[in-house]
């Protein structure tokens, strides 16, 4: 297909749409107003919050076992993260090797006794990264691609520890989506935005749930009170 043929196909599609809806097209302002009104229905159309404090609601969701393969803990400051990672190593009987996200905030922590630049392709490596947001409704964390956030860090390891600032734990998915909508308006949407809600899983063989299909089998969420 050359560009000319594709342009013909494009035109065919637009013509077919126009022909199917022969009324005069609404103006852009009217369409945008209508689209905005649809979001006003959100409040009656989303699940109830487990707690008024989104960070507590997120912890509750994980503790109730509603987030697959996920555990959760709370730490006072980011300086406590290496200890949380050490406890995670011990729990899963893992060698003390991790791939820590190459961001100043994490790399500058005292990782004494832990190798922090391991190869993330190995299954027993623990990935450690910092989330931008948490979402209580779904027990999720949000990361986006950048120079110091390789997307694969969240998918290749079998074990993943993610720290999320308490102040950035949002109550609902809509809350994050509205932030993303604003970013889109500025034209600065990153290449990837990942909303991750638990460990990788599959039910493709006889409907039986198995964790760690392709991504992490175990996920540990760490809520940082003061980041």
């Amino acid at each position: 297909m050359n560009k000319q043929q594709e342009a013909i196909s494009r035109q065919k599609i637009f013509d077919a749409i126009k022909q199917a809806s022969p009324t005069a097209p609404a103006n852009i302002d009217a369409i945008q107003k209508e689209a905005l009104e649809l979001l006003s229905l959100n409040e009656d159309a989303r699940p109830a919050a487990l707690h008024d404090d989104p960070s507590i609601a997120l912890e509750m969701r994980v503790e109730k076992g509603l987030v697959i393969g996920t555990s959760c803990e709370r730490i006072a400051t980011l300086a406590d993260l290496p200890n949380a990672v050490k406890t995670f190593f011990a729990k899963h009987k893992l060698p003390k090797v991790a791939k820590v996200q190459e961001t100043e905030q994490l790399q500058s922590l005292d990782w004494n006794g832990i190798g922090i630049n391991a190869d993330i392709i190995e299954d027993d490596t623990v990935g450690v990264c910092l989330a931008e947001y948490g979402i209580a409704e779904t027990g999720s964390f949000v990361v986006s691609s950048s120079k110091d956030m390789p997307i694969l860090l969240n998918f290749l390891p079998l074990y993943l520890v993610v720290a999320a600032p308490k102040s950035k734990v949002l109550a609902f998915m809509d809350d994050y989506a509205l932030i993303a909508n604003d970013i889109a308006k500025q034209g600065t949407t990153p290449r990837n935005i990942c909303i991750i809600s638990g460990a990788s899983g599959t039910t493709d063989i006889e409907g039986v749930l198995v964790q760690g299909a392709h991504g992490p089998e175990f996920l540990h969420l760490v809520i940082v009170d003061d980041l």
């Binding site: 297909m1 159309a45 779904t138 120079k147 998915m173 993303a180 889109a184 039910t203 063989i205 991504g215």
Partner: protein, 477 residues
């Protein structure tokens, strides 16, 4: 397994019904999905409101599709994506194959996409010198088996654990000797890991296209979409034009509905928005991003008054709850989309002339509409397609004769009552202990199950008798 053809529907159905374990295998997954969906809905009191909101969002986009398509194109291009347009499946496949050839690709990884199946991309890749690697576990299983998908969410539901053991042992580099499901999943993880990292091009579908940012959205439980898309230099998205939503905030209500309706989960593990090519300095991601927007019958649905079908978010709930699907499975439909949604979609993709029989494979019990997360009136759409098939004279001559004969009788009450009485007498002659095992002209029914014997009198005979006796009783009082 050779893919069935939609025009051979009755033959496909007979073959499916003759498979001794198929029904049990299908029900193992669909019954579990039904129960989990019901639980998810009961835990979400706002579900009905969410359905209404989801329907309104989809209807809004359908109403302004040209606006949102143009908006999406503009924003995707601004983020560095190359946008292509395909009015047919053949065009879409050609565009993708041309891109693959242009990049001299040898290995192609794919995450599950029903649109990819719809446009025949798997077939085209298999007939090229490129290696196609399916990365969703179910798609991986059916690729090894050479099967077409049998369900849009669980494409390998027709394969048992024993089948998977055999397939993995003969195809994986270091297969497990265990027959435990967890070990089978590990085996696939090991086998696919290197393939993810050495692929030249990653191809995905898209659950949603965000008009305001030009992003495509993948939804998976396994995380295979991100592993398919991120390592290769080139990412190709194929997406139907109906996947548009105005923004991420509009995708969220649909995501709530999608996961609950598909698997009964409150949310799926991985929701990722892909936006153009890798930015300068990004730690990873594809350097080139192509998006192929595909019509392939969708604008025809708009023109034919079937626009409600364009609301479909591909959750599979309609087939999980369909009594016909549960008996015959997905392959019998002979198309990528089985079940109620498939019986409406396929005639628009492959033509009503070849896929009209599927529109009759429905009891019109309405369960599909009841569970549809975006309120698609599937029974109404199926009835409309039946009517169209009739008016186009696509029905077999025997069906046309029987229906015409019935219409003639039904409009002549005396004749209808007489023939009903004769029918009851005839059927009684063939019944044994309340059931009919075989009878002339009923083999379509009795070859797979017994027919219940009629009451000794017709409805009208019983009605008249009862009325007479109650009149007598009234007079005596």
């Amino acid at each position: 397994m050779q893919a069935n053809k939609p025009q051979n529907f009755y033959k496909n159905v007979s073959e499916a019904l003759a498979q001794p374990n198929l029904k049990a295998i299908i029900r193992r997954t669909t019954d579990k999905a039904d129960a989990k969906r019901a639980e998810a809905v009961s835990n979400f009191p706002g579900f009905e409101n969410a359905r209404t909101q989801g329907q309104k969002i989809k209807d809004h986009v359908i109403k302004h599709m040209d606006h949102y398509l143009a908006e999406f194109e503009k924003n995707a291009k601004a983020q560095g994506a190359i946008v292509h347009w395909a009015s047919t499946g053949e065009e879409a496949t050609k565009i993708v194959m041309d891109i693959c050839k242009q990049h001299e690709a040898k290995k192609i990884t794919r995450s599950k996409s029903m649109l990819g199946e719809e446009i025949g991309l798997s077939h085209a890749l298999d007939h090229s010198d490129m290696e196609r690697i399916e990365t969703d576990l179910a798609e991986h299983i059916i690729q090894l088996a050479g099967d077409p998908p049998s369900h849009i969410v669980w494409p390998a539901m027709h394969r048992s654990r024993e089948d998977v053991v055999k397939l993995f042992r003969s195809n994986h580099k270091s297969p497990t000797q265990s027959e435990e499901i967890i070990d089978l999943v590990r085996s696939a993880r090991r086998d696919l890991r290197t393939k993810f990292l050495t692929s030249d091009i990653g191809i995905s579908g898209s659950n949603f296209l965000l008009a305001d940012s030009g992003s495509s959205c993948t939804v998976t439980n396994e995380g295979n979409a991100e592993l398919t898309i991120t390592p290769p230099k080139v990412h190709i998205v194929t997406a139907g034009i109906e996947k548009l939503v105005p923004s991420m905030a509009h995708a969220v209500p649909l995501l709530r509905l999608l996961t609950r309706s598909a698997t009964g989960a409150e949310i799926t593990q991985y929701i990722t928005f892909h936006n153009g090519a890798k930015r300068e300095g990004d730690a990873d991601g594809p350097e080139v991003s192509h998006i192929v927007l595909v019509d392939n019958g969708r604008t025809k649905m708009l023109a034919d008054g079937m626009e409600e079908m364009l609301r479909c978010i591909r959750c599979g709930a309609c087939m999980n709850h369909c009594v016909v699907y549960k008996h015959i499975g997905g392959h019998a439909y002979g198309s990528v989309y089985p079940g109620p949604m498939g019986s409406v979609l396929t005639p628009h993709i492959e033509g009503l002339e070849v896929a009209n029989k599927q529109t009759h494979a429905c009891t019109l019990n309405g369960r599909c509409e009841e569970v549809c997360p975006v309120n698609i009136p599937l029974p109404k759409l199926l009835r409309a397609l039946r009517a169209k098939s009739w008016s186009k004279k696509y029905e077999p001559i025997t069906n046309r004769f029987v229906v015409s004969a019935y219409a003639m009788l039904a409009s002549r009450p005396k004749l209808f009552q007489l023939s009903s009485s004769m029918g009851v007498v005839m059927m009684k002659l063939f019944s044994r202990k309340g059931w009919i095992q075989s009878m002339p002209f009923t083999s379509g029914w009795t070859s797979n199950r017994d027919l219940i014997a009629p009451e000794s009198k017709t409805f009208m005979q019983q009605y008249k008798k009862q009325r007479k006796s109650s009149n007598t009783a009234e007079k005596q009082q």
